[in-house]
């Protein structure tokens, strides 16, 4: 790739592909970004705007999330108005049985150098006066941020275009061309051939389908998540609040929750938006590629919110929607070169963390292609780490 600027095709114009395009075009790489549909039309426009460390496993995943938060903070100045704010985030406890694991969680994060704090009853209810009186405490992460996801995608693409990137919406990929073991470009369904030195597949839940013709199998599965949006009206605080409960699974402890909460994988997420509404989540289910909202799931999310915010009985739900989070078996994204095909890369499988991890993912793909030193170890992200899982599902 010496002697001239490399040429890269990125497949997938969601937040991950947009961040990859932004990093590469800012470094002088000639990028063509293609998507089968409108820009940001998949998961990146059916999600919340969380940029979190608070819910990451201490160690590698938290470090990756911190790097991404710091990069995003740098980028925000370049990107213009994407409703970026850093209000911090809180995990509210549902019962006293969660106190001990919550304190252990805070201790583990603090040992890794993060500024987490456990808030006792008094402080919890001073910061979040709308919380139910029986919430015994909370966990606080001061650096957690938020933004408008589709504005983020649009801003990344607008800046990339200014730096010479070509962006093609509604341009499905017919084939990724490989010649003599190297990625050579992409053939579009309309017959256009795009020549490239490298191809990056950032197609979220559609990534396995894009790679399958090359014999590359990845265990990325669509995990459906619902969100509920309120009307403008009373709000229940300006900070982002989740419940500690969905981390309980990571500690191997059972949650004591109603059957629909268990069945739909419901956990409270409360996110006030700049427009004056608030967003409620969340749910996690394997339900194929269906994004039609399920009223039973919306009810379960609302009921869970009322358990933590009884005052929300006065609030009004305006709409609900669902998106497909690209799940991986170890909850870590897939970012790196495809073994056996030089110049072919994957950046996908971020489940519910694509918005938050887009910046660091863009940076890593840039480092691979430009042969720079990555800011963290890349082995945990490797494409080839799923041998057993892919054998099972093949």
């Amino acid at each position: 790739m010496t002697g001239r600027a490399p040429q890269v095709v990125v497949v997938g114009a969601g937040v991950i592909g947009a961040a990859v395009t932004y990093v590469l075009s800012s470094a002088g790489v000639r990028v063509t970004l293609v998507d089968r549909g409108p820009l940001g039309g998949g998961t990146s426009s059916r999600c919340d705007g969380n940029v979190l460390v608070i819910d990451k496993d201490p160690g590698y995943q938290a470090e990756m999330a911190m790097l991404s938060q710091n990069l995003l903070r740098e980028w925000a100045g370049d990107l213009g108005d994407i409703e970026y704010r850093r209000p911090g985030s809180y995990l509210a406890l549902a019962g006293e049985d969660e106190e001990e694991p919550a304190r252990a969680w805070v201790d583990a994060q603090c040992r890794e150098g993060l500024a987490f704090r456990y808030l006792e009853y008094e402080e919890t209810h001073r910061v979040m006066p709308d919380l139910a009186a029986d919430v015994p405490g909370s966990v606080y992460s001061p650096t957690d941020s938020t933004l408008n996801p589709l504005a983020y995608v649009a801003a990344l693409l607008a800046k990339s275009r200014h730096r010479g990137a070509q962006v093609r919406a509604r341009s499905p990929v017919a084939e990724i061309r490989v010649e003599q073991g190297r990625a050579a470009g992409v053939g579009l369904a309309d017959g256009t051939a795009l020549v490239a030195d490298a191809v990056v597949v950032a197609a979220g839940v559609w990534t396995p389908a894009v790679l399958a013709p090359l014999g590359v199998r990845l265990p990325i599965r669509p995990r459906r998540g619902h969100l509920v949006v309120s009307t403008k009206g009373p709000r229940y605080g300006d900070v982002k609040v989740m419940e500690f409960g969905y981390l309980m699974a990571k500690f191997g402890r059972e949650r004591v929750v109603p059957p629909d909460v268990e069945r739909f994988g419901v956990a409270l997420v409360y996110e006030p938006t700049r427009a004056g509404n608030f967003v409620l989540g969340s749910s996690r289910e394997f339900a194929g590629m269906d994004t039609e909202p399920d009223p039973a799931v919306l009810h379960a999310i609302v009921k869970r919110a009322l358990r933590f915010y009884p005052g929300m009985a006065r609030a009004t739900v305006l709409r609900g929607f669902a998106g497909l989070r690209p799940w991986t078996p170890d909850h870590v994204p897939v970012v790196g070169p495809v073994p056996g095909v030089e110049g072919l890369y994957v950046a996908a499988g971020h489940e519910g963390d694509g918005i938050g991890l887009a910046a660091v993912t863009g940076r890593l793909i840039g480092d691979f292609i430009l042969e720079r030193t990555p800011p963290l170890p890349v082995a945990p992200l490797a494409v080839g780490r799923f041998q057993e899982e892919t054998a099972e599902w093949a």
């Binding site: 409108p38 820009l39 940001g40 039309g41 426009s45 589709l150 504005a151 649009a154 801003a155 693409l157 607008a158 275009r161 962006v167 919406a169 309120s230 009307t231 403008k232 109603p258 059957p259 629909d260 909460v261 069945r263 427009a275 909202p293 009223p295 039973a296 919306l298 009810h299 379960a300 609302v302 009921k303 869970r304 919110a305 009322l306 358990r307 929300m312 009985a313 006065r314 609030a315 009004t316 739900v317 305006l318 709409r319 609900g320 929607f321």
Partner: protein, 105 residues
């Protein structure tokens, strides 16, 4: 037929401050500015980035205007403003408390 045409050929082109979405107070000028700033080429994107059609009435009032505008720009508006459940705003207080069995509505 564009927004101007909808009012007859002798009507003046709508002013940039003509309100398209009342609930979210989005004027025509804001839609044009957003389209140009973000290089938007899709009605769903325009909706999500400007909030036009996302307010209390869920697009019931502005949907014809937004679709007509989209067509005047050469976009296919079908599906972009698809209704989201619930079909009517829904008081959270009507939801049964968590201890009850989930209702499948």
């Amino acid at each position: 037929m564009g927004v101007a045409g909808a009012r007859g050929p002798e009507a003046a082109a709508p002013a940039v401050d003509a309100v398209i979405c009342r609930c979210e107070a989005v004027a025509l000028g804001a839609l044009v500015a957003a389209r140009n700033a973000w290089a938007i080429d899709d009605l769903r994107q325009l909706k999500l980035l400007t909030r036009a059609g996302m307010g209390m009435c869920q697009g019931r009032v502005c949907q014809p205007l937004l679709e007509s505008l989209a067509r005047s720009w050469g976009w296919d508006p079908s599906g972009a403003l698809a209704a989201r459940p619930p079909t009517r705003p829904w008081a959270m207080g009507q939801v049964l408390p968590e201890s009850s069995e989930p209702e499948h509505g």
